[in-house]
């Protein structure tokens, strides 16, 4: 009896898509009457919005710094020439014109450090030292007075470098305090727990504006006679004290996620409280709440815009400063706000995308969508 050996055919390539174009369109856009109506209405609205935006922002807009042509437009078109004319006061505030290479260099340094930090996976002491060095170098560059650099008072610092310095230094200073507060709130000693809770709830209950007023008006009264502290350092101190309370709550969430067995096992091994926190609890806790920490940093970056109320002219305030004194360009605030909004949006959006990437990398199975 002859047996036939059959050879299997090679498997066919799987189709690239599960649905052809028309069924896909129907399912996603025109599933039923209501959906079709919604699609058509939204398309009409989006088309109208985009076309009027295009007319205002591109077609009728003026791109040269020509004040008369802009005024002749009478808001029918955007005056992007204002940005071209005023970009240096907007980006650098009241910094002296000849020395503006220094804040530009600070921007490059900070940007480079941020990109480097985001590219590498492992961070340890070298990263910390690199960041501390970068921040110190930035302060020296902005301040001047050494190495032949001209001295510039902090009242003249402004624009984007001030925003970034406030955000990074604020979070850097708030971090140790926030961790201590979070540990204190979970401590067994009732006095420490009470004091930490009171501080956190007090600071979280008041608006940032009032903390900035406190830092700006009241800190000089708290200091002994003859001692003055720079306005930027005062505002930075107030800002950090405020951010520390919110950071403490985020870290506390991470601490609550550590199983109690870890701490008990460490205690059985004879580790002291601080050794347990430093080597076992905090590394796990901080990694668990990394997305929330990034959200907190994004919020802090947005909160830096509030220092305008205490006369520190970071990016938002620098625009007011650039336009208020100049009658030629004063009608064109909206273009300025759109420009600054785009800068903030790019910064915050890229940070939130990076936070998403971190969350996926560190989630290891318990991902929150």
């Amino acid at each position: 009896m002859a047996t036939e050996v059959s050879t299997a055919l090679a498997p066919r390539q799987a189709p690239a898509r599960r649905q052809a174009t028309l069924p896909w369109l129907r399912e996603h856009f025109f599933a039923d009457t209501g959906n079709s109506l919604a699609t058509l209405i939204l398309l009409a609205l989006i088309a109208y919005a985009l076309s009027s935006l295009f007319t205002w922002g591109v077609q009728l807009a003026i791109f040269q710094p020509d004040a008369e042509a802009c005024r002749a437009l009478d808001h029918a078109g955007a005056c992007w020439g204002m940005i071209a004319e005023k970009i240096r006061p907007i980006l650098f505030g009241r910094y002296p014109h000849a020395e503006q290479w220094r804040p530009a260099l600070v921007l490059l340094l900070l940007g480079g450090m941020v990109i480097q930090t985001f590219r590498r996976d492992q961070h340890g002491w070298p990263t910390l030292i690199a960041w501390t060095g970068t921040l110190l170098l930035s302060f020296v560059l902005m301040n001047g007075g050494v190495f032949g650099l001209k001295f510039v008072t902090t009242a003249q610092w402004g624009g984007l470098p001030l925003t970034l310095l406030l955000a990074v230094c604020g979070v850097a200073l708030a971090f140790p305090l926030g961790i201590l507060l979070a540990l204190g709130r979970r401590a067994e000693l009732p006095v420490i727990r009470g004091l930490s809770t009171i501080y956190i709830e007090l600071v979280r209950g008041i608006p940032l504006v009032s903390v900035l007023f406190l830092a700006s008006f009241l800190f000089p009264l708290f200091l002994p006679r003859g001692m003055t502290v720079d306005v930027l350092l005062r505002v930075l101190a107030g800002f950090s004290l405020f951010a520390a309370a919110y950071l403490a709550e985020v870290v506390r969430g991470g601490l609550q996620a550590i199983p109690r067995g870890q701490i008990e096992a460490a205690q059985a091994l004879g580790l002291s409280y601080w050794q347990i926190q430093r080597d076992i609890v905090l590394p796990q806790a901080l990694r668990a709440v990394l997305p929330s920490l990034m959200n907190n940093f994004i919020s802090t970056l947005k909160d830096t815009s509030l220092v305008t109320v205490v006369s520190l002219y970071e990016l938002t305030g620098a625009l007011s400063l650039a336009l208020t004194g100049d009658a030629d360009w004063r009608p064109f605030y909206l273009e300025g706000y759109l420009f600054i909004g785009a800068i903030y949006w790019c910064l915050c959006f890229s940070l939130s995308r990076y936070s998403r990437r971190l969350e996926i990398r560190f989630s290891a199975g318990h991902l929150t969508r």
């Binding site: 996603h28 006095v191 420490i192 009032s210 109320v309 938002t316 909004g341 903030y344 915050c348």
Partner: protein, 322 residues
């Protein structure tokens, strides 16, 4: 007592003593500084006539009334804008959060785009942009847009409302005269800008919260509901949302509190809320300590009251095991 208990007691006593010492040093230094600089102290200034006017709001304030009435008017303005903003935010945020789960790809994308745009730009910038936009885009009062009995112009929105005329409440309709629109009630552009800015910003956060709450409900629930023949809308209303509430409410209460605190940014667009009034009083009387502590006290009370109210709501909605 065990050694560890004695150590714990020692640490706490040191902490309390250090805090008391710091407190005494702060108070004495501040008192000395204030005396040296001739800054008066005390809350007596609240009964002196205020040197400024609180332009808007329902609280009756005439020029020359005392400072505490100014503070009360500022507080009324803060509450007025906060309550309306919370109401609109809840409606808009819930709509967009539910829309992010829609079957229609365009609706989902629009909701996601809305959240990404309005969350990543600082609130201060949005408020300023809204204010400038309203002042630029709206017509002057002589050419106000009219829709029925509503008038919209650079000077705000006028609408018919109850007005106290000759010792009785009457329904008054705004009428257009040569240079102004009189009668009825009106909302200033500052109020409208603050309301729009706060609502759109907070609604983006609330939409994210609602979205994550809906996604936290087990997928099997909606699948079982679909197997039972419920439509998507019925599933959402009867199955998904009630379960999503207990995940949504705690972050949502935090966002309500944030909204109340964010209303303090009104100072930058000239809306006379509590912080703005306190800032003007501070500049006029020089009583920095009193004014700032008043702001903090009022906001703390508001935060604690709102937290208590919403904690009660949370307990009501909590998951009751059968």
């Amino acid at each position: 007592m065990h050694r560890s208990q004695r150590l714990a007691l020692l640490y706490q006593v040191i902490a309390v003593l250090a805090l008391l010492g710091l407190g005494f040093w702060l108070v004495s230094t501040t008192a000395a500084n204030m005396q040296r600089q001739g800054i008066p102290s005390g809350f007596g200034f609240l009964w002196q006539p205020a040197g400024f006017n609180v332009g808007e709001g329902g609280f009756p304030f005439a020029a020359g009334d005392s400072y505490w009435r100014a503070f009360a008017a500022g507080l009324a303005n803060t509450l007025r804008v906060s309550i309306f903003a919370i109401a609109f935010t809840t409606a808009l945020g819930t709509l967009i959060g539910i829309g992010s789960q829609a079957r229609n790809l365009l609706v989902r994308s629009c909701c996601a785009a809305y959240v990404e745009v309005f969350r990543n730009v600082p609130l201060l910038l949005q408020l300023l942009a809204w204010y400038i936009f309203l002042v630029q885009a709206l017509p002057p009062i002589t050419e106000a847009w009219q829709l029925g009995n509503l008038y919209l112009s650079k000077c705000g929105l006028s609408f018919p409302f109850f007005v106290w005329q000759d010792s009785h409440w009457g329904w008054e309709i705004p009428t257009r005269s040569a240079f102004a629109i009189g009668g009825g009630a009106s909302l200033t552009p500052e109020f409208i800008a603050l309301l729009c800015g706060l609502t759109l910003y907070s609604a983006a956060y609330l939409a994210e919260t609602v979205r994550s709450g809906i996604e936290a409900v087990a997928k099997g629930q909606s699948e079982a509901a679909a197997a039972l023949g419920l439509s998507r809308w019925e599933t959402l209303r009867h199955v998904t949302l009630p379960q999503a509430m207990r995940v949504i409410i705690p972050p949502a209460t935090n966002q309500c509190l944030s909204l109340i605190k964010n209303s303090s940014l009104a100072i930058t667009i000239g809306y006379p809320d509590l912080v703005s009034v306190a800032n003007t009083s501070l500049n006029q009387t020089g009583r920095a300590l009193e004014c700032i502590s008043l702001i903090m006290l009022v906001y703390l009370t508001l935060s604690l009251a709102a937290a208590a109210l919403l904690g009660w709501l949370n307990r009501r909605m909590a998951w009751k095991e059968p």
